[in-house]
Homo-oligomer: 346 residues x 2
Amino acid sequence: MHITIPDIDAAAAAAAARRLDRLTKPQGSLGRLEELAIRLAGMTGNPSCRFDQRAVVVMAADHGVTEEAVSAYPSEVTAQMVANFAAGGAGINVLARRAGAQVVVVDMGVRAAPGVPGVLDRRLGPGTRNMTREPAMTLAQAEAAVATGRELAGQLAAAGVSLFLTGEMGIGNTTAASAVTAALTGRPAQEVTGRGTGLDDAALAHKVGVVERALALHRPDPADPIGVLASVGGFEIAGLAGLILGAAERRIPVILDGFITGAAALAACAMAPGAPGYLIASHRSVEPGHTAVLEALGLEPLLDLRLRLGEGTGAALALHLVDAALAVRDEMATFDEAGVSERTDG
Amino acid sequence: MHITIPDIDAAAAAAAARRLDRLTKPQGSLGRLEELAIRLAGMTGNPSCRFDQRAVVVMAADHGVTEEAVSAYPSEVTAQMVANFAAGGAGINVLARRAGAQVVVVDMGVRAAPGVPGVLDRRLGPGTRNMTREPAMTLAQAEAAVATGRELAGQLAAAGVSLFLTGEMGIGNTTAASAVTAALTGRPAQEVTGRGTGLDDAALAHKVGVVERALALHRPDPADPIGVLASVGGFEIAGLAGLILGAAERRIPVILDGFITGAAALAACAMAPGAPGYLIASHRSVEPGHTAVLEALGLEPLLDLRLRLGEGTGAALALHLVDAALAVRDEMATFDEAGVSERTDG
């Protein structure tokens, strides 16, 4: 698999920065909003970029590792929540509606296939296998999952989507994300494993042990991201890695959500080192592994709201800041237009 | 002046928390959004509170201390920006429009009275006096400014406004806010004085010296907030303190902006210790004094975006999070409605 990620367009970014510096505010005083407008210009190659159609791609799958009792919720919840997404009742539905984004729900391998209308069927199997006993999936499945995500990015782009948000659902997937993060960053399991949907101390210690066992069994090679995804990943994690690659190769910005989509981004960036330039980190999750992910990607999150829901909810909240940044860029008066004096010392 | 601030309604807050715990998400997994919905219920006494009409009150005034060369911008900019607010071209106009909030611009004492239609005239004078030489205003002016803000809160509430955002404009007002913050928190000037609209190191050192001279001249008493405002405050700072009191006494939540509105909140809370319960800190400003203000108020900001524009821009950005919190509360499906299984261990 060869993936070409275009360079960030420095001229477009500089043009956006010049525009921002003409607006009636001290230069740089809108801080990270200005950074966002500049980065988005560099990604798209367009200092006046707009994102009229945006999609939260929520990939769902089950995880064989739930046999090891790593979650506070039963694995049936994955399918139940997919049905909830399709019915519009989940957190991501509410926040995506507010943000003017469509929700694209993708079944990448939910155990009990819900067969719900409106859910895209991209199933690679009835959930992964138990990574403490065998690889979560075959290399062929990992490659297919990445290819599926890449293709979906192309299909959505062809339909006019110009901004992606990533989301996920999968009981057990913080365990997989911890293993992927440990494998790709070299950090110990203890540092990158958290409470997920709400484990107590004993259950957390057990979960750390599960991640350690899986890593000891497979010894995944960080130089082989497909191998990492196959041995300890998940169908939705691999699919999201592909979606990120498919977006970046088309100059489409991606707003990441939390820890699981961050682990997917880590894998994507291990396959294509230029990909981080197209990523926006929406928030810092409560999951400790997410901080390791953000550091490895060199991304600073926009929000820190102690979120740990996933689904793309943090990304949907951050979309508002993206829209605010573009509104500032386009709608504020310049010093000349408003007849406002500039600095006396510059 | 006697001000009665009602207690926070713990029963309403608990009812909102119960509702949130029935929604299809792990309990508490929407972090600070859930906290917001709970706090707003406690403030308003209504677990289903809504805020259909919201106003950013932008108070503007000039500062005599600009004679001491404390700002990178000439003081004419205050009046020019008031005109820009009235014309709809400033950052706060753009962000308030996006957030569905009206902008109420109040001239509390701009030197060159712009006489712009649409600006409320509540002038207390042509700017304050130079606080390094004499009190910024008389005690009567400070009391009148606070009373003006309190009355305006009542007038806007009578017109249906149920949520206030605070904003300000005034070249030189970070200097006044630093002096007010130092006086009310007991921190040294150096710790609470920053670069404002963009001073270099030498100009910052000069500004710290200006604040120190003013404090040494007046020795303001932290137990006398009106005295503090009179000696080293500003008309807009005192007016905003009054607005905050007028909101809190009516159970109306207030979204603070950054350092200057934070200094106003400090003064308000020194007059009425129950007021912080009605305050939401929108963001952490780049100004170092803001962190001292937030600590003194016991508030944790929602955003940290390296903003330093003021005007209410941070508050307008945070309004989105308030609206998102209420949408989650009202629009998400419950476990029962969606047929989703709950925790296996609880």
